[in-house]
C-alpha cells in the first residue's frame, strides 16, 4: 500500500524488556498501516507482543523495565520518534484513546461514571459543551442517562465496557485502540459489545486498531489483519485474503484451530508447543520450532517480509514465499 492513503503508519517498532539485567525483545520490527475510518486487527497468542505494541503506541509501557528501542510513527503526515516517550505521551487522548480488557479494574472506583467521562472530554477539549457531549456519548454507547450518577461497582460488566468506550470516545481520538475489549465479558455481552463497536465505527467513521487473540472478533470488525508471532509481524493482508488463503504456516494453524477443523484422524487440529518465551528467541524464524513445514534455513535465517499476491497488499514473513 502506498504512503499516501494511510493516516497512520508505524515502522520498525521494537520494544525491549529488561529482565535480570538482560535486554529481551518483546516486539521486533513490527509495523502497521491504517487508513482513515478503517479497522485493522493485530492478532496473536498471548506473548506475541500485540499488547506491548498497543502500549507502545500509548506510551504506557511499564516505566521500570520496558522501553521502546526503535520505531517511527507517522500520523496525518507528521512523523514521531516512538523512542521519545514524553513526545508520544502527548498524543494520548486527542490522537490515540484506548479501551481496555477488564472494565471494572480500569474504571476509577471512586468517581461517578459522569465525572470519568467528563474528565476525558475536558482534558482534550476545555471549551466543549460538556452536558451535550455526555448525552451524545451515552446515546452512542447505548447507555441510559441514569447511569451517569452511578459508580462502576453498581454497573454490569457490559455496561462498564460501554462506559470505557464512552470515555475513550470522549477524547475524540483520531484512532481508537481496543485491547481485547471483549475478552473479560460473557459470550452474549461479547456479541453486544462487538456489534456496538461496529456501529460506532460506521456511525462516526472511527479508525480502529483492535488487539485480539481471536481471529473471529478481528474479522468481524477489521478490514485488514496484522498477525504477530514472537514479537514480529509475520503476515498482513486484507481480512478476506488472510481468512481464505493464509500464507504463513502459523496463520494457517491459527485459522484451523479457530474453525475447529478436524484432521485426518477426526480430531480437532491443534497447534502443539508454546509461544516462544522472550528468553528463547533465536536467530531464525520464531515459529520454526512449532512449524510443520520448517526447512533447515528456518532455524538459522530470519525470513524477510515478502509479497504473496493481491497486488502487494498481502505479505508474509516466511521462507516459503521469499
Amino acid at each position: 500500500m502506498s504512503a499516501a492513503d494511510s493516516m497512520l503508519r508505524i515502522r520498525d517498532l521494537s520494544v525491549v524488556y529488561e529482565i535480570d539485567g538482560r535486554e529481551l525483545f518483546a516486539v521486533k520490527n513490527a509495523f502497521i498501516d491504517l487508513k482513515m475510518g478503517e479497522g485493522v486487527g493485530i492478532v496473536g497468542e498471548s506473548g506475541s507482543g500485540k499488547s506491548t505494541f498497543a502500549r507502545a503506541m500509548m506510551a504506557l509501557l511499564p516505566a521500570t523495565n520496558a522501553r521502546v528501542a526503535s520505531g517511527v510513527m507517522e500520523i496525518d503526515g507528521v512523523s514521531y520518534d516512538m523512542v521519545d516517550k514524553s513526545g508520544m505521551a502527548r498524543l494520548r487522548g486527542r490522537t490515540f484513546a484506548m479501551v481496555f480488557q477488564d472494565p471494572l479494574s480500569y474504571l476509577n472506583p471512586l468517581m461517578t461514571i459522569r465525572s470519568q467521562i467528563v474528565e476525558a472530554i475536558r482534558l482534550n477539549d476545555p471549551s466543549a459543551n460538556v452536558d451535550h457531549r455526555v448525552r451524545e456519548l451515552l446515546d452512542l454507547v447505548r447507555l441510559p442517562q441514569r447511569c451517569l450518577t452511578a459508580y462502576p461497582h453498581e454497573l454490569s460488566g457490559g455496561m462498564r465496557q460501554r462506559v470505557l468506550i464512552a470515555i475513550a470516545l470522549g477524547c475524540r481520538p483520531k484512532v481508537l485502540i481496543a485491547d481485547e475489549p471483549t475478552t473479560a465479558l460473557d459470550v452474549t455481552t461479547q456479541a453486544e459489545i462487538l456489534a456496538l463497536i461496529k456501529d460506532i465505527k460506521r456511525e462516526i467513521g472511527m479508525s480502529l486498531v483492535l488487539i485480539s487473540h481471536d481471529l473471529g472478533v478481528v474479522s468481524s470488525l477489521c478490514e485488514r489483519v496484522f498477525v504477530m508471532y514472537g514479537g514480529y509481524t509475520i503476515e498482513t493482508g486484507a481480512r478476506e485474503k488472510i481468512l481464505s488463503t493464509p500464507a504463513h504456516p502459523y496463520t494457517q494453524a491459527l485459522i484451523h484451530t479457530a474453525r475447529a477443523v478436524r484432521g485426518e484422524d477426526g480430531r480437532f487440529v491443534t497447534l502443539s508447543g508454546d509461544v516462544p518465551r522472550l528468553v528463547e528467541a533465536g536467530k531464525g524464524c520464531p515459529f520454526a520450532p512449532r512449524c510443520g513445514v520448517a526447512m533447515p534455513q528456518c532455524d538459522t535465517v530470519l525470513p524477510s517480509l515478502a509479497h504473496v499476491n493481491d497486488n502487494g497488499r498481502h505479505s508474509a514473513r516466511c521462507h516459503m514465499h521469499s
Binding site: 490515540f96 472506583p109 471512586l110
Partner: protein, 322 residues
C-alpha cells in the same frame, strides 16, 4: 448516612459506660489513697481523716460510690476535684483546649507532611530524596520524643536562646498573644509533628504506591491526564482510606497522646494534669480525663467512618443498583 449516625450514637453509650465503670474500679484498685494525699505529712486532729473521707463519700461501699457517680455523670456533673479545688468538667475542658492547641496544628502539619512524603516516593526521578525521607521517617518514628524534646531545649532554648523552654504563654512579654503562643509552640509542636508525620508517611507511602499501580491509573493516563491531576484526582483518593484511618486514630488519641511532650515542655495541658492527678490520687479528675479521652476516640472513629463513606462509594450502605 443518618441511620449510620444513629447506630453509631447508640453504640457509643455502652462503650462509654464500660469505659467509665472500668476506670472507676481501676483507679480505686491502684495503691494509694486520696485522703493521705490531701492531708500529707501535717499533724491533724483525731478523726479528721475519717471526717474528710465521709464528707467526700469515700467511706461508702464502692458500688454505691459508682452508682452515685454514674447518676452525676448522666446529669453532666463529673464531680469536684479535691486536689485542684474546682469542678472537674471545667478543669479538664480548659486543659483539654490547651492540649488541642498543641496537638491539632501538629497533627494537621504531620498529616500534610506525611502525604507529601508519600507523594515524593511515587516519583521515579526523586529516588534519592525518597530514600532520604524514608530514613528520616524511620528516625522520626523511633527517636524517643522525650529525648528529642531535651535536645531541642538544649539547642534552641539554652544554647541559642531563640525559643522559650517551657509553658504555653510567657508571664511577661511584649509579643502579641498569638506570636507568644507560636514561640512556645515551636519546639513541642515540632516534636509532635515529626513523630506523627513519620507515622502518616509510612502508611501514605505504602498505600499511594499501591494505588498508583491500579489499572484505572492507566485509563486516566490514556485520557491524557497530567501528572499533577493524576495524583490529586486518581492516586490520592484511591490511596486515602488507610491514610485517613491512621490520621483519625492519631486525632482520636490526641488528648492523651502528648503526655510525654507536655511533661518535657511543661505544657499546661491534659497530659500534665493527668500526671499530677495520678500522684494526688485525684479520682474524679482521673475518671473525667478517661471519660473525655474515651469520648474523643469514639467521636474520631465516627468521623473517620463518615470520611470513609465520603471517599469511597463502595462503603456506603444501600448503594443503588443501576
Amino acid at each position: 448516612m443518618l441511620r449510620l449516625f444513629w447506630n453509631r450514637l447508640v453504640w457509643a453509650i455502652p462503650v462509654l459506660l464500660v469505659i467509665v465503670v472500668l476506670n472507676f474500679v481501676l483507679v480505686r484498685l491502684a495503691p494509694g489513697d486520696p485522703i493521705t494525699s490531701i492531708i500529707g505529712e501535717y499533724p491533724t486532729p483525731e478523726g479528721y481523716a475519717e471526717q474528710l473521707r465521709a464528707q467526700m463519700g469515700l467511706d461508702r461501699p464502692i458500688h454505691e460510690q459508682l452508682l452515685i457517680y454514674l447518676g452525676h455523670v448522666f446529669q453532666g456533673d463529673l464531680g469536684y476535684s479535691f486536689a485542684n479545688r474546682q469542678p472537674v468538667l471545667s478543669l479538664i475542658l480548659g486543659k483539654a483546649l490547651n492540649t488541642l492547641a498543641l496537638m491539632v496544628p501538629g497533627l494537621i502539619f504531620a498529616s500534610l507532611l506525611g502525604i507529601l512524603i508519600g507523594r515524593v516516593s511515587l516519583s521515579t526521578s526523586a529516588r534519592f530524596l525518597d530514600s532520604t525521607l524514608t530514613g528520616l521517617s524511620l528516625f522520626g518514628y523511633s527517636v524517643p520524643i522525650f529525648w528529642l524534646g531535651q535536645v531541642l531545649i538544649i539547642l534552641f532554648a539554652v544554647e541559642l536562646q531563640w525559643l522559650p523552654a517551657q509553658g504555653m504563654f510567657a508571664l511577661q512579654t511584649d509579643l502579641p498573644p498569638f506570636l507568644d503562643y507560636l514561640a512556645h509552640w515551636a519546639m513541642p509542636g515540632f516534636a509532635v509533628t515529626i513523630f506523627y508525620a513519620a507515622i502518616v508517611a509510612r502508611v501514605a507511602r505504602a498505600s499511594l504506591k499501591e494505588a498508583v499501580t491500579g489499572d484505572y491509573i492507566v485509563t486516566a493516563l490514556a485520557k491524557g491526564t497530567s501528572q499533577r491531576r493524576l495524583f490529586w484526582r486518581h492516586v490520592l483518593p484511591n490511596g486515602l482510606v488507610p491514610i485517613v484511618s491512621v490520621i483519625g486514630y492519631n486525632f482520636g488519641l490526641a488528648l492523651t497522646g502528648a503526655i510525654l511532650v507536655e511533661s518535657v515542655f511543661a505544657w499546661p495541658g491534659l497530659g500534665a494534669l493527668f500526671m499530677a492527678s495520678i500522684i494526688a490520687r485525684d479520682y474524679p479528675t482521673l475518671q473525667g480525663i478517661f471519660l473525655l479521652a474515651g469520648a474523643a476516640v469514639v467521636v474520631s472513629n465516627f468521623v473517620t467512618d463518615v470520611v470513609y463513606e465520603i471517599i469511597d462509594p463502595r462503603m456506603r450502605n444501600g448503594s443503588r443498583g443501576a
